[in-house]
């Protein structure tokens, strides 16, 4: 997990530095790159590729949450040398807040229904398809579909999604 986390972070940072402003980068692509890199370094401690994507989804959630926290905190503290998120893009600031509220809501969902929380993590943060999510969790695709539907309605209600632009 720390390995995957570090790798995701490095790749994301590298891509960011040399991309023009406004360029978007999909977490799925980051995870995919991290996988290739770890395989190439002979880091074969993952039982399987599916296991890797499951771990990577968790790591991606953590990367995004940590970053969102850092940038919002920095804003409050009046970041000096670094550019605050606010200066970069209001949409980013909004997205940082949304990721944090989603993270909090997912923790609550995890308390009452851990599997649904995992389904959202894999589908949303990991970018896995229904079939891949089912394989990663060892359940049927029907279960994943139903879980995702119920979890999404629950989260949408908790977060008041629809009242504001969806994350």
């Amino acid at each position: 997990m720390p390995l995957v986390y570090g790798e995701l972070h490095r790749i994301a940072r590298r891509c960011w530095i040399s991309q023009p402003a406004g360029h978007t980068l999909q977490p799925t692509a980051l995870i995919h790159e991290a996988y290739l890199k770890l395989v190439n370094q002979g880091q074969q401690s993952f039982q399987s590729r599916r296991h890797f994507f499951a771990v990577a989804s968790m790591a991606m959630r953590q990367v995004l949450v940590n970053h969102a926290e850092a940038s919002l905190t920095e804003k409050r503290g009046g970041g000096k040398e670094t550019i605050s998120l606010e200066d970069i893009d209001p949409a980013l600031r909004q997205e940082a807040r949304e990721v944090l509220s989603l993270h909090e809501a997912l923790k609550e969902l995890e308390r009452i229904d851990p599997r649904k929380s995992r389904v959202v993590e894999l589908r949303y943060f990991g970018g896995l398809s229904i079939e891949e999510t089912a394989a990663a969790l060892g359940v049927s695709t029907v279960t994943v579909t139903r879980d995702f539907q119920a979890a999404r309605a629950w989260l949408a209600r908790e977060l008041g999604a629809g009242d504001a632009p969806a994350p």
């Binding site: 999909q26 692509a29 190439n40 009452i112 009242d163 969806a166």
Partner: protein
Amino acid sequence: MTADEWQAIEGIYLEASALNPVGRAAYLDRACMGDSKLREEVESLLEADLKRGRFLELPPSLLAADLLTRNPPALSPGLRVGEYEVQSLISIGGMGEVYLAEDTRTRRPAVLKILRRHLTADAHAVERFEREARAAGTLNHPNIVKIYECSKSDAGVFIAMEWVDGQTWRALLGRGEVPLPVAGDWSRQAAHALAAAHEAGIIHRDIKPDNIMLSKAGTVKILDFGLARLGGNVLPDVEASGASGTISGTLSGTLPYMSPELLRGERASSASDVFSFASVLYELFTGRHPFAGETPLDVFEAIECRTPDAPSSRRPGIPSALDRLLLAMLAGEQEKRPSSPAVAVELDAIVFGE
């Protein structure tokens, strides 16, 4: 809310959401059995679902793009690294930063790769890397980028190499269809480079469009022979111009050009280079990666399990001899792939005609 309460709410919600509004009201009457709190919960879920828009359907892309930014390039113009003077940043890759520089002795341009410090922390890895760089430095071939030296300086371990005034194949591939005779000529130039390296016992390990250049004079040059091992240069270098492709709308960045054996974590061989080279050529000739897919797992599984369509089915006019050659190079089993010298001979025959 407790887990039990949620389970009851969820079950009724899922049933109700599958019904039309009329059937739904009747169903809720029955299922909630006068429990108004339960009914309220279910109805608020149904309502939230109606209003949710595209909630959770799109990945959190903005934020991922922004994972920040605190590491500015280490070297500024004018700085000396060994005998070289830094001029500008070219790209930031998996191995480190790449700069355009000038050799102060000859006033000729050169490219400097400064290795990332975390990669050079391991003395054994650095030693192995230097050994490989020196081996690659002995290659003298018009289609291989010349390595001048590999040394240490205050800035860290660096490699100085030939500067090529041109573009990578990655950039060229993003620009639309390449005429068949042109693609043929580029292919055979690259094939001869690969064959020469393999005959000298040097494996590339990371053949991909980012590592092949076309100079303004029309000469193909392969970059970074033998350098992939340190730090896993599997990642695409991100050029300062920001070139990146999107395949099927989901996978931004670069599709893997790895062979199935590398994907399984096995050792690279010259046959692995042949496979990767074929993936690149397939894309050059047809405009499509041979194993394109919707998700990363699709792509990996395709590399391991799928035989690609014949290139001529993607682009009419591709000769059948080229179909046969590329598919043979993409064979899953290493022993079934032709050697790179055989590939070069065959491409010459195809390009120059029998």
